[in-house]
């Protein structure tokens, strides 16, 4: 593909992809097979996200400052049958959602990170802590001895809630995408990107808040007045943390710091969903990515049949799911890139197009080492 604008050709190694984005395309090439894979996998992802967000919200509201939350994955519905199923691992791996939450907590970003360090938040958290510890002298002593300990726990609880709220919006976006595909309304990858983009735009200003109820009284930890919104304070930090920084694709690749495989400047270290190797490495018995495992239960029939036609059939289902998932995440990333683009992609103003070009080249710099090139040719 060549640039259709009157800008000089880009010298970027991923110039073809930049031109594609400028012409209304996506990071992922458009093909009926890619559309089917992406929509199918996002449907199962939507189902899994639905379970994840419910659990994250449950933990943030009902396991608040429970320091040994043994049954946090049971959403308050404990039974021996559920426990046995949990141990058998034929279940939703909620741990994955927690890993993503921790990735956001560690990497920060957005106004949320800044707000959690304000005195206002500390005061609100302290009130909730005092209310929670009433009648518990042991924990009160601990809290006095280590005043930051429980505050940090509350910060983590805030991230539980924020990620839960983010996925509560994303899950229906993916499920309605699948419904529209089934009705024949989604026919191309740009259609997919546009659907996600519209969903993000619709929810962009949705406020992010967090409150807990302790002994019948509500404690607002992130009030509406903090001004946190869905797109800039939940979606963008999430994409940054999970797509570009760290993602718990357990057992897929390991880095050796002594062999200088990790750059000394941490911000240069890219190991997110868009970078993770879908092939497990090492030896037999390494656990597959929990998310892939969870999605195996919900992939639609047409996608399952597509996977079964490949040489390994059912054997490498999780690897194939991972490949499809990365394709879908490049679509979501496209939506984010287009949504944050300084000017509309089809702007006639040469100056604006030039700024858009610089913006896209900066993104491509970040994606140079990602799986972007591999997904162009469906390579594992």
């Amino acid at each position: 593909m060549v640039s259709t604008s009157n800008l000089s050709p880009s010298t970027h190694p991923l110039a073809d992809i930049i031109y594609r984005l400028e012409n209304g395309g996506a990071l992922l090439p458009d093909s009926p097979e890619n559309v089917m894979e992406v929509v199918g996998i996002l449907k199962s992802y939507g189902v899994v996200l639905d379970a994840y967000w419910r659990n994250l919200i449950y933990i943030s509201e009902h396991q608040f400052l429970v320091l040994f939350p043994f049954f946090k994955y049971f959403n308050g519905e404990f039974s021996i049958g559920k426990l046995l199923r949990h141990w058998w691992h034929n279940r939703i791996n909620y741990e994955f959602a927690e890993y993503c939450m921790k990735a956001m907590l560690w990497h920060g970003g957005g106004k949320l990170d800044a707000y959690l360090d304000t005195q206002e938040f500390c005061d609100r958290a302290q009130q909730a802590i005092q209310a929670k510890l009433r009648g518990n002298p042991l924990m009160q002593g601990v809290s006095k001895a280590f005043p930051d300990f429980l505050i940090e726990q509350v910060r983590q609880m805030a991230y539980y809630s924020v990620l839960g709220q983010f996925w509560r919006v994303m899950s229906p976006i993916f499920l309605t995408l699948s419904d529209r595909y089934d009705r024949g309304e989604i026919k191309s990858i740009p259609d997919v990107v546009n659907h996600v983009l519209q969903g993000l735009v619709r929810a962009a200003d949705k406020p992010i808040t967090y409150a807990v109820n302790i002994r019948g009284q509500e404690y607002e930890l992130i009030p509406k007045s903090a001004g946190l919104t869905f797109l800039m304070d939940a979606a963008v930090p999430y994409v940054e943390a999970v797509f570009f920084r760290s993602f718990p694709f357990m057992g897929t690749v390991s880095y050796n710091a002594q062999a200088r495989q990790i750059p000394p400047e941490q911000e240069r270290f890219s190991y997110g969903a868009l970078y993770a190797d879908p092939l497990p490495v090492g030896g037999a018995g390494i656990p597959p990515t929990l998310l892939m495992q969870d999605m195996t239960h919900f992939i639609p029939d047409y996608l399952h049949r597509f996977y079964q036609r490949t040489p390994r059939g059912e054997t490498d289902l999780r690897v194939k799911i991972c490949v499809s998932f990365q394709k879908s995440m490049f679509c979501v990333t496209t939506a984010a890139i287009l949504g944050l683009m300084p000017f509309p992609a089809d702007t006639p103003d040469p100056e604006q197009r030039k700024k858009n070009r610089i913006y896209l080249e900066n993104w491509m710099d970040r994606l140079l080492e990602s799986r972007l090139i591999s997904v162009q040719v469906c390579e594992v």
């Binding site: 190797d277 092939l279 497990p280 030896g283 037999a284 040489p311 390579e379 594992v380």
Partner: protein, 510 residues
Amino acid sequence: MLSALIVIPLLGAILIGLLPRVSSSHAQTGAEVPDYSRAIALLAVTLAIFWSVLLGFKFDTSISHLQFVENMPWIDALGLTYRLGLDGLSLPLLVINALLTWFAIYSTDELLQRPRLYYMLILMLNAGVAGAFLAQDLLLFFLFYEIELIPLYLLIAIWGGAQRGYAATKFLIYTAISGVLILAAFLGLTWLSGASSFGYDPSRSQFLPLATQLILLGTLLIGFGIKIPLVPLHTWLPDAHVEASTPISVLLAGVLLKLGTYGLLRFGLGLFPEAWSVLSPWLAIWAVVSVLYGAFTAIAQSDMKKMVAYSSIAHMGYILLGAAAATPLSILGTVFQMISHGLISALLFLLVGVVHKKTGTRDINILHGLLTPERGLPIIGSLMIVGVMASAGIPGMMGFISEFIIFRGSFPVFPVQTLLCMVGTGLTAVYFLLLVNRSFFGRLPVQFSNLPPVQWSERIPGFLLATMIVFLGLQPSWLVQWTETTTTAMLISYPTIGAVGHSLTQKDKG
């Protein structure tokens, strides 16, 4: 009763020969003509396995002399007698012959070209090897020893790799020379001792001058040394292995090489004990050379199959060391090592065969990350790790038991040579870890990320062999009990060897 082990596979081969051929008209019309040759071959060998196991149950482990003896005059004028017998030396080898032939047939590609001829040849090979292990007449042994060359030559020459003609011819020339040398030694022994028949008689050489005995034993050693093979008579083996198909490599390493080591014990040590005791220090040195040369050369290989082939050469050296020391323990160890090496090398060759079939290469510089779950060959890789651990003598597996018994038995007689051979064991770990590390660990390269799936039928032989290797490593007495009486009795009959061993031990102490 013993003849059944020769007759059953031969009958199977004849039956396959009588099957209707898939005619060209059938091929043109595309009509499916069922081919029963594989089923018949499997059935015949299964019967042979049952028969061998039955013999094993009926075998009296407290008796040192031959059992189930069959004796039939054949050509009196030549002094040739059809005399078969079974003792603790030949029984385990007979069982492994039947067992590995079954694995070889089972793991043969079902879409093989000219299947009738292939399975007939395998059954003939099985019959020939069984006959050689059972023969108690020198000429009869020689006949069986030579007969197995023909099917093996054809199996390499027809179904082998690109250089199969070269490899098969080299194999034929080397082993034909081996046969000539063995025949010459047998003729020399019989004629010079004035015997009227070729019957196996351990006391026959004792009236011959020592120089004559040394010449005859030397001839035998070179003859069997080619077959085993010992360095520098080994050059046919890596070529034959590389060009042979996987099932034939399994038979070659697992069974055919054992004809050489069996001959070494039965006819070298058994017929020339006095000369053996004179040559034994040199034999021990020869063993060290073979072990170290085989191991160092294996380290330098990049072809998995060649690496396993050179490892075979190294491991055969342990047998020569144990035979040279000729203590009851070391001789017992040599028999255990024959079975252990048979099972372990069969496992390794089978697994290398699967890797080659799936990836199209055996080059450890190209292969990488095959243990990768889901997309690689994780089960084959895990079995390979079991195989190389067994080969390197990790406790709990057969390789450890056999090497430990040999070293324990040979150390009092040849301490330096034993220690040097133990270095070879360490080197086994080096080259096999290189193999496993390069080929099985790390990230699966893009060109191998869509390997065809491995079927369970390809894994089952590996699982069975690995199970036997571990089981007999934990419970070696099941195998030892068959052999111990025979090997101990072998040495009691030859006081000279014990004396040499004893005098060397005394000298060391002095």
